[in-house]
Amino acid sequence: MTAPIIRIKELDKSFGTLRVLDGLSFDVMPGEKLALIGPSGSGKTTILRILMTLETISGGHIEVCGEQLYHMQRNGREVPADAAHLHHMRRHIGMVFQHFNLFPHKSVLDNITLAPMLTKAEPRARAEARAMELLEMVGLADKARAMPSQLSGGQKQRVAIARALALQPRIMLFDEVTSALDPELVEEVLLVMKRLAAETDMTMLLVTHEMGFAHEFADRVLFFDKGRIVEQGPPDQIFRNPEHERTQTFLRKIIAAGHRV
């Protein structure tokens, strides 16, 4: 039996007096596609941000690829991770943001090659060849020389996916990647993600309000409320047959708001 690629144990996170994650525990298996759903403020985005080390944690432990993320051993004692350890761990993880966060002063190609050239000392030629492959995959090979400001939201997000993939992480985090897009641009991004999910054995964690997509994409769905997992299971079970009242209420509201399930 293989070991989980992510192990979250008793994770706490507070912003001031506000408790966002409350003793949260779950594992993710290598290659698993996970959808995190729930009302806003339920802590699902915070989990991704914590895995990307964009936040600090208030308590608990996270193991990624067999190593502690926020802790390390020093002289046989467990101490908080230092900057070097976090840097070392981040190479396992890539993230795509709701608002794309492309580097606006760099061309599409340079957005993708910057990190591999700097953090992995890849020669320009190799980084660019790989970037072109990725652009091909997301259907934007003809935009390599464009600046981000010349792209539509959907195109920007596909570039952002390529940029994250260029570092070849084992885990990809998608944080509401279609929420900032005009409705007609959502589909092109979802298509790229579907292909990615089908063609790679990358582990993927997806925070989304697109229930239809979550249903199709995920192996397992976690429903969050108030910083805890209320219910989890295969998409068919969660979407067709939710056990908990809070899950049912949430899904009813989402459907009422016009989202497909």
Partner: protein
């Protein structure tokens, strides 16, 4: 008192020599102010309080005291503890340091204008803090603040006569010396004024262009 064109022609070479030094001092001080200001701004943002706090204190101290006093300190007091600087070096250090505390403020605003998104994207692509500054933050922060930086350059240019107090033979000092030896002030001082005015007018045109060019880019 009559305006004497012959006297103007006579002192012109000396004044031009002074102007050359004035421009040189301005340029060198600008380089110091631009570089050191950026360093101040970055250090002041450091998460390490032991770095950020003292740097903040130094900036407030320099900004809170007159440039002339600082120049006297660098040129006349530092030799008492064994640091002897030639007038030009003392002037460049004094002006550069003084204006660095102002440019640091410009940089701070420019850096804070870079959205938090960009820091997070840099971290998510695993750039080190150093790489983040060089490749992501500074290239985005600097262009919008070029007009503000150029403003300080003009201000600095107009303050160079202060350096005559520490024996730098810039324009003002040259004019003073020809005036003192000939007892004619009207021509040398008028010429100094004209030179500064001419340079300032040119600078204003360049500044307008910069604002147009980079102001647009910032949007």
């Amino acid at each position: 008192m009559e305006w004497d064109w012959n006297f103007v022609a006579e002192i012109m070479p000396t004044l031009l020599q002074g102007l050359r030094l004035t421009l040189l001092v301005t340029l060198l001080s600008a380089v110091v102010a631009a570089g050191l200001g950026l360093a101040f701004a970055i250090l002041r943002r450091s998460e390490n309080r032991l770095i950020a706090a003292p740097v903040g204190l130094v900036i407030e101290f320099i900004r809170g005291t007159p440039l002339l006093v600082q120049l006297y300190f660098i040129f006349y007091v530092l030799p008492d503890i064994g640091i002897v600087l030639p007038p030009l070096a003392a002037g460049v250090i004094g002006m550069g340091l003084h204006y660095a505390t102002y440019t640091a403020e410009v940089y701070r605003a420019g850096i804070e204008n870079v959205p938090r998104d960009q820091w997070e994207a840099a971290r998510a692509t695993n750039l080190t803090p150093r790489q983040t500054w060089i490749h992501v933050i500074v290239p985005q922060a600097v262009p919008p603040m070029i007009p503000a930086l150029a403003n300080y350059l003009i201000a600095m240019f107009k303050e160079t006569p202060l350096l005559s107090a520490i024996t730098v033979l810039e324009l003002m000092n040259q004019a003073k010396s020809v005036a003192n030896s000939s007892y004619r002030y009207i021509e040398p001082m008028t010429m100094v004024g004209m030179f500064f005015l001419a340079m300032s007018l040119v600078s204003v045109v360049i500044l307008r262009w910069l604002e147009h060019r980079f102001g647009r880019l910032a949007k």
